[in-house]
């Protein structure tokens, strides 16, 4: 009853033990049922990372730096960083939610060196669990006053730019005068016309919820607002993709999404416009460094943050995802935003304290799912 496939498979597992480098593998399964003789599998890692070992002496010092990132420009930055420093870098590019689930599940034995995504709340929560390296700031760029205001007191994470979390995207052919305040969304004009993401599933949506609750004066007032919004026919979708899809198909008239995604859509659909309500939640891009990694990887992670703050890094951030995340508001002196990005001075913004609102994320998301979604 046993096929050779079983044995060779077990052997391949054993052979893969020495896989710290995690780059090239061969799985062999031979002699399987029905004449299928052999399947050889070679899964190679990114060409850039596997070839970056110039000399054995240098390679001994350079451990692979693992970057978990959910930014549209992350691949461009990682490539540029490797070219500039020769440090072999492995990128895990997924959505914020997936990466946070991975980080949570790996808590016993963290695998990431750098974590880069939007929204400071989850970093505040990671910091409370003592998972982030504290007290480090890159010295390759100078922060603007706005940038400085985003740095936490214990310097446990590093802001790299900012966007607006809950901007209004609408079709200007259908909507002639978009709303200007959160309260207007409760009026009959917008009954059944507003769509947003479920904060429990879409990473960058929780800051919208936190900001509205913060502006309304607290959790209970905020909950009352969302209940009223739900009573006015709020549509809740899982992610940006579905919410914007609903807007494009005309199911909703106003999509409450991240402004960079909205501006990106203006490129392909000029009739789509972005409006900002009073006040809009800032959604900074954040780098965190894993405090539990060995010194060598932490040193490389610091170099990575330095590279992001450098001129070369800033240029790559602006060019890596031209119709999406690259449309951010820069916070480094000397970096200029894309022309289509409005001046931040013209937008009333709000930045709820992540130390207060971060730890509430799980319970408020649960509340949102139980009371607004269902």
């Amino acid at each position: 009853m046993l096929s050779l496939g079983h044995i060779s498979w077990i052997v391949s597992i054993a052979m893969n033990q020495n896989s710290k480098l995690r780059r090239s593998f061969k799985l062999k399964a031979m002699g399987l049922v029905g004449g299928i003789s052999a399947v050889t599998l070679s899964a190679c890692g990114s060409s850039a990372s596997s070839s970056a070992t110039p000399s054995s002496a240098a390679a001994a010092k350079k451990v692979p730096l693992v970057v978990y990132a959910a930014e549209g420009y992350d691949a461009a930055i990682v490539k540029g960083f490797q070219q500039a420093t020769g440090i072999p870098t492995e990128l895990e590019d997924h959505s914020t939610g997936t990466l946070l689930a991975k980080i949570s599940a790996e808590a016993n034995n963290p695998q990431w060196g750098v974590f880069w995504s939007d929204g400071s709340e989850s970093y505040a929560a990671l910091d409370q669990q003592k998972m982030l390296l504290r007290g480090f700031e890159p010295n390759t760029g100078t922060l603007t006053p706005l940038g400085k205001s985003l740095v936490p007191a214990d310097k446990s994470y590093i802001p790299t730019g900012t966007t607006i979390a809950g901007a209004i995207v609408y079709n200007s052919n259908v909507v002639k005068s978009p709303p200007t305040t959160w309260n207007q969304l409760l009026s009959p004009t917008w009954k059944g016309a507003v769509g947003m993401n479920n904060p429990a599933i879409s990473g960058p949506t929780y800051p919208v919820v936190a900001s509205i609750m913060d502006q309304k004066g607290g959790v209970s007032q905020g909950e009352a607002y969302f209940k009223a919004l739900a009573a006015n026919g709020l549509h809740v979708y899982s992610t940006n993709k579905v919410t914007l899809g609903a807007l494009l198909q005309g199911t909703i008239k106003l999509a409450l999404v991240q402004n960079s995604a909205g501006i990106g859509f203006e490129y392909t659909n000029p009739s789509l416009k972005v409006a900002y309500l009073d006040k809009s939640a800032l959604l900074p891009g954040i780098i965190g460094i894993d405090a539990k990694q060995p010194a060598a990887e932490i040193a490389e992670a610091k170099k990575f943050a330095d590279f992001v703050y450098s001129k070369a890094g800033q240029a790559l951030m602006l060019s890596g995802d031209p119709h999406g995340d690259s449309l951010f508001f820069p916070i480094i002196v000397g970096t200029k935003a894309h022309k289509v990005v409005p001046s931040l001075a013209s937008i009333p913004t709000d930045y709820p304290n992540p130390v207060v609102w971060g730890p509430r994320e799980a319970s408020l998301n649960q509340w949102f799912t139980s009371n607004i979604v269902q």
Partner: protein, 609 residues
């Protein structure tokens, strides 16, 4: 009747694969040459280590990761997910409110979907296997089309059809009631039911096809009418029908995609959506997710126990040495028309509506209404220049071939063991393992892999499994094994033990007799299980996202990355291209089987292909 349901009391003595004594007899008999002696000794050794190795594989692939996840319900601290070593608080909080309501809804919807899918699947099976209807090849491929459709595309299709400004409203048939009905429990159950039809079909088509007409003729000879035929042969198909019901039920309650797309707007909590939310928040609530996992396991376990209760008391073996190909019913014009009408009606709903979704989400110019003039290939231009997508296709293709092959071998062993009359403790253990795996959604299993294989203790003994392609391959196998073995259960239960006995009496070893006597009869079912796994693995998302090593990007992850980069249209276009590749592979393999497989392999159940 008794002649049909053949008693096979001595079957077990001949199918025990680790039966040392029978091997000894053989080795004495065949000591004619050194080569033959060595060959027999090797085969003997293989048979002896076979089951232990099988269990080691099963433990590594399924048992350890599932257990690692499920134990979090009572001991969050074990994998660094909280301070308590032992706590039942997750159970008490999960067994109330939305979580409990979600579980209840999942069960109700699962039952409805299972009945619907089994009914439709049997109808399709009868039409395709036992009648001379036209267009069999096209419909066979269409069934695969349903299997591959992503939930997102299905939901968009219904929206385009039913929504204000949609297709129905353009012909003045818009109805808010219909819209609300669909984007509610009814629509949710309907989509799950439609998605379940291929599973049901695969479970029943083989047995329907292989139920040779000799049985029918025997009843007719003894004066039985059509009703008698139905009454007598209906129960013989019971294992397959129960397999279909249970597979669809389990797939429905453990479904993720449809839940994520439909459930939130239906204001209709279901278990998997609650589980998704528990895992997606930060910090992820693994304990609550584990409790929901326990509930899913329990529910599917009860369903399987019911199946067990009804199918274990009697034997249903019909595939024996004398089995002949079933007679194809020559249906007249009106009969043909009626069957074709049924087929067209079903496929219009199951495939036509999602096609509308695919067209509108990848070809319809943004912000325009559904009409031919507004369709364009703009999103497809340049998608093959997307960096690295080609290597993603190659990687997922190889993994899908590898996984399908491994899964079918293991699933056949599992199904054989589960259908043998003397199950014993080991068999029961196997049953429980498969129940757990079938009930746990892919994301949960993938998280279980992280807990189990990222333990510091493993690395301290030099076992670096986590973050390798091997672990991803193991997770793919874990995801595929339960459904493929369940699909094989029905056909396997119909194999008459006398076939093996005959082969063994004639001097064949257990494996050889299985290969020569049983494999040809099972070939079509094995092929379906292979294709099912191939198709599922090629586009698998949860395990690919959580377990693919850095630098390795499976197709589904590549597509999600493009969607995340705000490139909605290109992402959807890519997912449709990937679907077409998947479907193309299935058509190709079916054609190759038709051309290359020995005639005998195709004759018994061959009309399915």
């Amino acid at each position: 009747m008794k002649a049909i349901v053949t008693p096979t009391e001595s079957q077990e003595t001949t199918t025990k694969p680790v039966d040392g004594s029978s091997g000894k007899k053989l080795s004495i008999r065949s000591k004619h040459g050194l080569f033959e002696y060595l060959r027999v000794t090797l085969l003997n050794a293989l048979e002896h280590v076979g089951w232990p190795v099988f269990w080691v594989v099963l433990a590594l692939v399924l048992i350890i990761p599932s257990a690692a996840f499920l134990v979090l319900a009572v001991s969050p601290h074990l994998f660094g997910q909280g301070s308590a070593w032992f706590s039942l608080s997750s159970f008490s909080s999960a067994l109330s409110g939305v979580t409990l309501q979600g579980m209840r809804n999942s069960v109700v919807v699962g039952v409805v979907a299972a009945i619907f899918a089994t009914f439709v699947g049997s109808f399709l099976g009868f039409g395709l296997q036992r009648t001379n209807m036209k267009g069999k090849a096209v419909f066979s491929v269409a069934i695969w089309g349903i299997l591959l459709l992503p939930s997102y595309i299905i939901a968009v299709g219904w929206q385009v059809l039913l929504d204000r400004g949609g297709v129905l409203s353009s012909i003045n048939l818009f109805s808010p009631k219909l819209l609300n009905l669909f984007f509610g429990p009814v629509g949710y159950a309907l989509i799950l039911g439609i998605k379940g039809v291929p599973f049901a079909y695969f479970a029943v088509a083989g047995p329907i096809s292989s139920l040779g007409s000799s049985y029918e003729e025997a009843i007719r000879t003894h004066g039985g009418g059509r009703i008698e035929v139905l009454r007598t042969l209906g129960p013989v198909l019971l294992p397959a029908v129960f397999s279909a019901l249970v597979v669809v039920f389990a797939e429905s309650v453990a479904d993720f995609g449809t839940a994520a797309v439909i459930a939130p707007n239906a204001h209709f909590p279901v278990a998997t959506y609650n589980l998704y939310v528990a895992l997606s928040s930060y910090p992820a609530n693994f304990s609550e997710a584990a409790v929901i996992g326990w509930m899913l396991v329990t529910v599917v376990g009860v369903a399987l126990a019911v199946q067990h209760h009804f199918t274990k008391r009697r034997r249903f073996a019909t595939l024996g040495g004398k089995a002949t190909a079933a007679r194809i019913k020559q249906v007249g014009f009106w009969g043909q028309s009626a069957i074709l009408f049924g087929f067209f009606a079903f496929f219009a709903i199951a495939l036509g509506v999602p096609t509308l979704g695919a067209l509108s989400s990848s070809m319809l110019k943004p912000l325009s209404s559904m009409s031919l003039g507004n369709l364009s290939f703009f999103a497809y231009r340049g998608i093959f220049s997307v960096t690295g997508f080609g290597s993603s296709l190659v990687f997922s293709f190889k993994m899908a071939v590898l996984n399908a092959t491994l899964a079918v071998v293991l699933a056949a062993i599992v199904a054989r063991r589960l259908t043998s009359s003397k199950v014993g403790l080991i068999g029961k253990l196997l049953d429980v393992t498969v129940i757990i795996a079938i009930a746990l959604p892919g994301l949960v299993l993938a998280a279980g892999y992280i807990f189990a294989y990222n333990l510091p203790i493993l690395q301290s003994i030099g076992l670096h499994l986590y973050g390798t392609v091997t672990v991803l391959a193991m997770a793919y196998l874990a995801g595929a094994l339960p459904s493929s073995s369940r699909v094989l259960l029905g056909p396997m239960a119909q194999i008459q033990g006398s076939l093996l006995e005959a082969a063994r009496v004639n001097g064949s070893r257990a494996f050889v007799s299985w290969r020569k006597a049983v494999l040809p009869l099972l070939a079509p079912s094995l092929l379906w299980a292979w294709l099912l796994t191939f198709a599922g693995t090629f586009l698998e998302l949860p395990a690919s996202e959580l377990l693919a090593p850095p630098g390795v990007t499976p197709v589904s992850v590549a597509i999600v990355q493009i969607l995340n980069k705000s490139n909605l249209y290109q992402g959807t276009a890519l997912s449709i291209v990937a679907l077409l590749i998947d479907l193309g592979m299935i058509v190709l393999v079916m054609m190759v089987f038709k051309v290359l497989a020995p005639k005998g392999w195709r004759r018994v159940g061959g009309r399915v292909i």
